[in-house]
Symmetry: D2
Subunit: 339 residues, 4 copies
């Protein structure tokens, strides 16, 4: 951590700072310029005292040098984390895994119909929401536990692991019981009690970046989960909010190489929410594979105009089938594979 003092700080003020650093058990590194003094405070966890220094009147500003997260960092673990879902699915290895299915589980029939289609097209994991975070209290809120039961049945029938979202601490147990991967949605990225709750259970977690979450904050939210003992966390970029309004969100694909350098955790991308327009999902999905995703999560619906949520961004089964083949070609071009 670098502490830059206000111009022409007095000797006594400088000493207040250095004494504080020493009191905390660190060694201050002082550099004095013509009228600027900067003080380095380097060492384990120095960054956690940032606030205390920022609050001092003589301090102009503080720059972090070390990362505020640990378990999620590449320094902590050099090799990529590979998350074993079942015998054949290990997220983070050479394969790019495609998670697909309807936005919401609307009925058992619809779920089974869609699951069969995406499985036939080559998807390896089934997605579907039972608890739906809707902006409006008057919109369809999901089937709840019944939806999860249908997921479990579909999973058993098709031998396909499943992913579904937990929106609240009290739902975590259900998700953990019925599904193979527990999703934390973008709106709950800083719902810390929920993060701790999924950190305490065993199932792998798919953690979605919020619409205004920085990469650093995303890793800190992952750290909440890891710090509870669950190291099987996948990070998911699904679009951030910007001034551009011709797409639902702006997908930040730059996040992939940046994250790959900072963390050992697998990265999943969600082009369906990222762009939010059915006819453009395919182009974005190809970019997602090219940039280095370890997996993709894609919404598919056999009759989007009847969907109870997100119909406008759901692919038709035929579109999905074609896309899968295209994704495999792109994956192979970057040394990976979908099939």
């Amino acid at each position: 951590m670098i502490i830059v003092l206000k111009k022409n700080a007095k000797k006594k003020e400088i000493m207040t700072v250095t004494n504080k650093i020493k009191a905390l058990g660190y060694k201050p590194h002082i550099s004095v310029g013509k009228d600027i003094t900067i003080i380095g405070m380097i060492g384990d966890c120095a960054e956690k005292y940032r606030n205390a220094f920022e609050a001092m009147d003589v301090v102009e500003h503080v720059s972090e040098i070390q990362k505020p997260y640990k378990l999620a960092s590449r320094e902590f673990r050099k090799e990529n984390t590979v998350i074993k879902i079942n015998k054949s699915i290990e997220i983070g290895n050479k394969k790019v895994y495609i998670m697909a299915g309807p936005c919401s589980i609307e009925s058992k029939e619809l779920l089974f119909e869609t699951a069969k289609m995406v499985k036939d097209a080559g998807a390896t994991i089934l997605r579907g929401g039972a608890f739906k975070p809707r902006s409006s209290p008057y919109a369809f809120q999901g089937l709840g536990e019944n939806g999860l039961k249908y997921m479990k049945m579909a999973s058993a029938k098709l031998y396909m692991p499943t992913v579904s979202e937990a929106m609240a601490v009290e739902q975590v147990g259900l998700l953990s019981k019925y599904c193979d991967i527990v999703q934390i949605g973008a709106r709950n990225i800083q719902n810390y009690e929920l993060l701790k709750a999924v950190g305490k259970q065993q199932k792998p977690v798919l953690l979605k970046r919020g619409m205004a979450t920085t990469i650093k904050e995303l890793l800190l939210s992952a750290e909440y989960i890891l710090s509870q003992g669950n190291y099987n966390v996948m990070l998911c970029e699904r679009g951030i909010r910007t001034f551009e309004d011709s797409t639902r969100f702006t997908m930040d694909l730059s996040a992939v190489p940046v994250l790959k350098k900072l963390t050992h955790l697998p990265i999943i991308l969600d082009p369906s929410h990222g762009i939010g327009i059915r006819e453009h999902v395919g182009a974005m999905a190809k970019a997602c594979v090219a940039v280095g995703a370890d997996g993709l999560i894609i919404e598919v619906h056999p009759r989007p105009e009847e969907a109870l949520s997100d119909g406008q961004q759901s692919l038709l089964p035929d579109q999905f089938k074609i896309l899968m083949k295209e994704l495999d070609l792109v994956a192979r071009a970057v040394g990976r594979e979908v099939f």
Copy 2:
């Protein structure tokens, strides 16, 4: 809701749309231009079918005309909501109420010391966090229930109502028991289970806008609370996230006149988080009063350099005392009053 069809839509496709509108119990209003057809679907709650139309291939895009929230809207209630906290405090009336106190309740002594100071300076409501949403799992997380007990004691001693944050459903009961106003923080603006939980209890709610929440979404989140029966909701703007990095957030003061037109709920502003820099909080606070706030929430700490959170934005008691007088002058200039 206006449904704009793709160029050169065929008669049959147009009929699919109009039939769907009729099936839902509405009357379609068709306008045909040279090559564009637009269809109006106007009436109660038409907007809730937006997705279904957006998902149709013939539809180019859909514009909402009516508001997707009801109870929170000016149409539902013309006069301003006034929230009675106690005999002398009615938020939403002519007075601008100042809520002040430390960011976190760090100890009983600190809380009492700060509470006394802000009360003496003219603040009417005591703020302080017992459950703290911290980006890092390694940062101070608050004193929990003990903190709330100290709040209750301070409240009783100084006859000063209190506001504190609930971060999770299971904390709502405690907040409701010990405090007079339950705060929902920016990070939980779309934590719908939490919104429903505070909607079911009786205490007034201070709902903070998220860093990337639109005004429409803020009102929809308020609607979640109102729809559970609790109509005493205050909306709080506390800064949104933009590209500008010289301040902690960018405070969106435009939101005040816009919200005042759309809703009957009182508006509170949080200049401490909004700008995040102690020496600039005062200037922003004055702008907040001038733009029409019904109340302000301000962080004060007697020794910010020892604060366990947000020290850099906490005012010193002397600064706060002077500011209070300045705020009263501005309030009177716009037909209101602080004292």
Copy 3:
């Protein structure tokens, strides 16, 4: 254009609006709901009267239905524009063209050295700035006309067309004389006099999107050039400004499929500025090809630590050489080719 009136508009007020529409030569399409009236005004260029209606007190808001640009739109020209630079380079065809070179032309030697390297690696167009838009007046401002002369020489020697930036109307003549493609930088995206000036000369134009330019505004800026008679315009996405600060900008790859639908103009992508970090340029470049770019513009410098601008994002020649091969693989995976 859809004109939504304020709630409970009076008959007389509605007539003021419809009369105005008729006076402008259009036919009003009125839809009356329970308490909302909307009026359609559809027809050629109706959108250009938008302001006049927005300014009326009875009008709640106006939604555009038709596009405010014409020559740049797919409706105006269905097939893709292909820009012929020389016998073998036709931007917009199956090939993905790579433009590469140093950020600034720092010296004749450096330019020739870099040009040779990028040509050998397979780049087809040479980039290099002679007039440099620098945030600081104290930073290196470019070699000016001398730089352009070096470009011309390098071009002749290596038989490689060139692209360089014009920052002011008075530079357009020089650019047009010495280079094959005239670039308009992000900072000048709404410098309308400059847009008109490049619209009046003959050389193709590479138009870079600004940091806060919407897709609609980008197309309107292109329209300024097209409306002067120059139809050879390439659009270039190079990153927009968002809250995320771990990269220089956030590259909006969603813009590619969206633009491909709206316009017939070729799309170039600039991953060097987009991400701004050398080690991550390659990953983004691959995503750029996968998402459907017609060309890429990439900064290369043999000794970036000596570069007078943008050294931190310039690839080393060896990195570039490897990347070119990888880009060709990705291009072939999406039905295109680099070599």
Copy 4:
């Protein structure tokens, strides 16, 4: 400038950096932590070498400590700059100056009519655009030199100084001849040739912040003007672009106290463009005065529904008259005055 090296940098690599610092004439200040090395390079203009260090492979990142602008900084000039427009108008003193008038000069009659009204209401400077930067090439582009002649006449008749925009280098002479203050619009904030041109003439300059310009960049753009010898520059915040779409822009009022600390230049605010909605301009204008503006620029039009640009945000003369009185009250509450 602080140079943070990559983890575990080797001795030899560290020496490359320190040698470079010495070669540039500075003294390196090295701080070595357990696995991190940081090197301070402090002194006049060190920041201008930032790029060279960022481009080195061993460098993790570089933080600026000193400001990259000089003439615009408080360090350069401690007391506020006061710009004398005429005998009675000195922008930057105790008074808050109101600049008002139509968006565009549409006709001589309209200009005179509006000028008279705003003068009567107490405005001290007349605004009006003769060259209009319009997003669409098909929108009204302004009356050009004729418009400026009308401004000159109105100015002479009413003894009211004027402000109008220059969009291109070749217009600067005209503006300088006919008007008292030359405005540089938001879209030209980084049109460096234009900045230099207004820096070379004598009239004061009103420099508007762009929609995505950081405060640092705004000051660097001002520096371009100052470095040419013209020290009479006013900075103008007029709204930045964010995700919020219920207002035209989001006005960044935080910029006022931040700028007041960093620079000695006067700050003008533009609530008309900032919020873009007539009925809300007044509330924002009051906030602008409260936060510490030295002046405001406000659009007024006697018949906004006939305006050729920005009618939706122009105040009616009666609204303006009332607002002026309200602004004076707020100004007095913060120790200033409008009348």
